[in-house]
Symmetry: C2
Subunit: 355 residues, 2 copies
Amino acid sequence: MKKYNFNAGPSMLPREVIENTAKQILDFNGSGLSLMEISHRAKDFQPVVDEAEALVKELLNVPEGYSVIFLGGGASLQFMQIPANFLIKKAGYVNSGTWAKKAMKEAKLFGEVVEVASSADDNYTHLPHNYEIPADLDYLHICTNNTIFGTELREDIDAPVRLIADMSSDILSRPVDVSKYDAIYAGAQKNMSMAGVTVIIVKDDVLGKAPRELPTMLDYRTHVEKGSMFNTPPVVPIYTLMETLRWVKAQGGVKEMDRRAHERAEALYAEIDRNKLFRGTVAKEDRSLMNICFVMNDEFKDLEKSFLDFATERGMVGIKGHRSVGGFRASCYNAMTMEGVNALIQTMKDFEAQH
Amino acid sequence: MKKYNFNAGPSMLPREVIENTAKQILDFNGSGLSLMEISHRAKDFQPVVDEAEALVKELLNVPEGYSVIFLGGGASLQFMQIPANFLIKKAGYVNSGTWAKKAMKEAKLFGEVVEVASSADDNYTHLPHNYEIPADLDYLHICTNNTIFGTELREDIDAPVRLIADMSSDILSRPVDVSKYDAIYAGAQKNMSMAGVTVIIVKDDVLGKAPRELPTMLDYRTHVEKGSMFNTPPVVPIYTLMETLRWVKAQGGVKEMDRRAHERAEALYAEIDRNKLFRGTVAKEDRSLMNICFVMNDEFKDLEKSFLDFATERGMVGIKGHRSVGGFRASCYNAMTMEGVNALIQTMKDFEAQH
C-alpha cells in the first residue's frame, strides 16, 4: 500500500532526492567509493558544499554580506550558539511555542532575556500579536513556525533591532526577505535533508561583537572563514541537502513551494472546517501551512483512536498529534503532494460517512 | 578498476554496511518510507539506537555505571564539551599531535591547563614518554591515535587522576579497559560510520561536578537521561553506526579487529623498512596501526609526485600524506583488507623495480 508521510520531522523528502542519495552511497560520482567513505577534503566533495551554499543563496535571494554555513548538532545547539555569538546585554524572545521557549531558556545563561510577547497562557493556540519591541535589545528572536502547535508567522516583520529567526520547520517554503534578519537558522530534517545538518544564514558584519571568548566550534566566524570545513562536516546530510535544493530549484523555487503550501493547506483546512467530526486547534489567521493540527470535536472525542487506526490502514503515516496538543497533526512540508493531501481528505470524509 | 580506500577519514567502511545503508534509505524495514524520512520517535528507530548502544557496550566490554551516547557536531565539539563538563580547576593534556593540541586549546577557556608532556618539538614523530602525571589534576586528556602524524598509544595507561581519551581514530580496533577511563569519545567517521555522529562513553557518577551552569545541549547529562534523544539525533549516521557495530561483532569483535590491525600494519611497515625508496616517519615503538605514514628517502625525494601518480593509477586512494608530514599516509581502519594492503605493497615493490 502507498504510504503518505505526514511526519513532523524527520519528514518526507522528494523521492528523487532519496534515490539519488542511495545511489551516491553505493558509488559516489562513479568513483568506486561510497559517498560515506570519501574525504570531505576530496576534490569531488568541495563542489557539493559549494553548490549547496550557492543554492541556498540563490533560492532565498540572500543579499551580499551574508554567509551560509552548515553545522552539526541540530537547531537545539543553535539555541545556545545564537546568544553566545549575539547577546551582549539584553535579548528579546517571542514565546510562541515549545521550541521558542527552549531557545529563550538557553539565552538566559548569556545575559538578560526579555520575554517580549507570549501566547503560553493560551497554550500557544495563536501567535502573539501587537507587541512592542524594546529598542534597546541586542536582538529579537522569533520562531517562524511552531511545529508542535501549528502556528506560523508567514511574513518578515520589521523590527527596530536585529532580528534572528528559527525557521527550522518552514524554511524554503516561501520567499523570505533575508535582509530583514541578522541570522536565520534551521535544522534540515523538515524541508531540506535528513537529520544531521543545520543551515545558518548569518550577516557577516554582526559577528565577533559579543563580549565573551567563545570555544572555537561555537564561534560562527570559525565556520564562515573555513567554508563549513573547519572540522569534518556531516558529509552525507550535506549531500542530501544539495539534492533537495536542486529539486526545489527545478520545481520552480520557493515561489512555487509557497504556492503548493497554500494549495495543500487550504484544501486540508477546508475539510477540517467542513467535516463535522473535526476542528482546527489554532486561530485561523495564525494557522501554519506546514503543520496542520486538528482534533475531534467534543461530541466525537471517543473516536480519536478509531480515526487514527482508520487513517493508518489507509496509508497515512505520522498524523498523531503531539502530546502537548493531542488529536492529529498533518505535517505538509515541501515534498508533500496534493495526492497525499487528497488521500488524507478522502480518509476524513470516509470516516465521517461511517459516523 | 578496483579502488583501495586509504582515506584518513571519512574513510573506508565494510561493503555490506554501505549496501545495507543504501537499502534502508530506499525503504526502511519494508515500511515504504526512507530511513531519511522516518521520525526519530518512530517505534522502528528506537531499536536502532538501543542496538547501537548495546553493541558499543558489548564490543568494548563497557562496565556497569557507564553510559553510551551519540551526539552531532564531531569530536571537535567534544574538545570544548569535555572541559565544560569535567574541568573544575586544573586539567592536564598530553600534547601528542595536532588534535591533542586543539583539544588543549579549548580547555583553556574553562580553567587552568597543564601540558603534562609534549612531543611538539620533534614534530610529533614519537609519543611523549616517561612523563609524570600531577596528582592534583581534575583529569588527564590523551589522544590515543594521532591521525596526522601516525603515532598511537595502543594500551590503557594507569593514571592517578581521571583519564579522558579521544579515540576518534582507533576506537573499536582493539580491546580497551574502559574502567580506566572516565570518558572516551570518538568521531564516527573512521572506524564506525559516516561523518555526522560522535560516540561518547562516560562514567555516570562523574557528571554534574563542574562548577558552571551548562547550556542544555552541552551537558552530557541531558543526553544520558534522554538516551541520545533529547533532540533529533543524526538518524542515518546512527543507523550506519549500528550496521558497522554488527559487522565488527560478526567478524569476531575487537579482538579480531586487533589481530587484523597488527597483520595489516606489520606487513606494510615491513615493506616500508625493506624498500630502498621509502622510510617511516615516526619512532618504531610508537607507530600507529591505523595511520601508516612514510616518505621517500632523501635520495629519491624527487620521485614523490611520480609515486603518487603511479599508486593512483593502481587504484590507491587517499595515500597523500597530510601537509604537516608530507609524503604518504595509508590509513588502515577496521574495514581495510589484507588484499588492499598487499595491493599497496605490490605497488611499492613495482615502483622500486623501476628506479
